[in-house]
Symmetry: none
């Protein structure tokens, strides 16, 4: 883009007035600023000599540059905060899903216990609850139900058949029972 090096950097940005630093001067100042944000007297005089501008202007440039730098940091902080919030919200949603599932499972467990208590003891073959999001429960139930990988949320009724002793070949609710 800027292939041509116009030696008129000086008047490039100055119609009538203005002591604007040209590109080369800015480049050197930026390089200096990268190494140290602080400007000691020695450096100031050296830069003034090299760039051909009064030391006073070097100081001013550094001060303004520091202010700009501070704003940039602020901006970065803001973005970092935004990412953090994003992550926190995402994790929160995940946890909400998790608790919902756990409550459902707990509810089901309670239902079963109450069902058992209210009179129908003795006929239980095998049934098991499994969790899709809580490892210890999963491993627990895996131990119990050998190779059945049951995801509660997607728990289809036919996946439960083997757990309660129904032989295969029977499908769908009410069809062949």
């Amino acid at each position: 883009m800027n292939s041509s090096f116009n030696s008129q950097n000086l008047q490039k940005y100055s119609k009538h007035n203005k002591k604007r630093l040209n590109q080369e001067q800015v480049r050197l100042l930026e390089a200096s600023f990268d190494s140290t944000k602080k400007l000691d007297l020695e450096k100031k005089l050296q830069l003034a000599r090299e760039l051909g501008v009064p030391p006073r202007q070097i100081s001013i440039w550094y001060q303004n540059r520091r202010a700009r730098w501070k704003n940039q940091c602020m901006e970065n902080d803001y973005n970092a905060l935004q990412v953090k919030l994003e992550n926190a919200l995402s994790e929160k949603r995940q946890l909400e899903k998790e608790t919902e599932i756990l409550q459902g499972e707990l509810e089901k467990a309670n239902e079963m216990l109450i069902g058992l208590k209210s009179g129908a003891q003795g006929q239980i073959r095998e049934f098991r609850l499994s969790s899709s999001c809580c490892e210890d429960v999963i491993s627990y139930s895996t131990k119990w139900v050998h190779n059945y990988e049951v995801n509660y949320c997607n728990l289809q009724i036919d996946e439960l058949y083997p757990m309660i002793g129904v032989e295969e070949g029977t499908k769908k609710c009410c069809s062949t029972w």
Copy 2:
């Protein structure tokens, strides 16, 4: 409202300062800015007359004031974001606690079910799940005992009846049990 020319404001800051608006001037400009962020020609000339400064300076002051305004908004956004993050993290912690409790309760329930299955089927009399954070589970269970309305995640509760040997008779479909 422009009561008079207080010569006191002038020397409050700097003795020979041509730039820098005095307090009264700033006060009026701020008041004007409060009402409208935009400066139409009429207002500009009016303010210039009232404050005794060239219209050009009024324009510039407004431009810079708008820039400052924007930064202030940024600052507010940043703070709001910080509060949001704070809340999200707090809620996340709460949910973590909750899931931990629920996992514990679920495990307890599973142990009870295993215990029942593995032999001591006739002995259940009293069991309680110590629920400290989800009373609705208990109430749901109770609800299940009296009416058979509860379902969860595709699994109809009456589909569970045969699993635990409940023979209440007719429920929804499957009236041939």
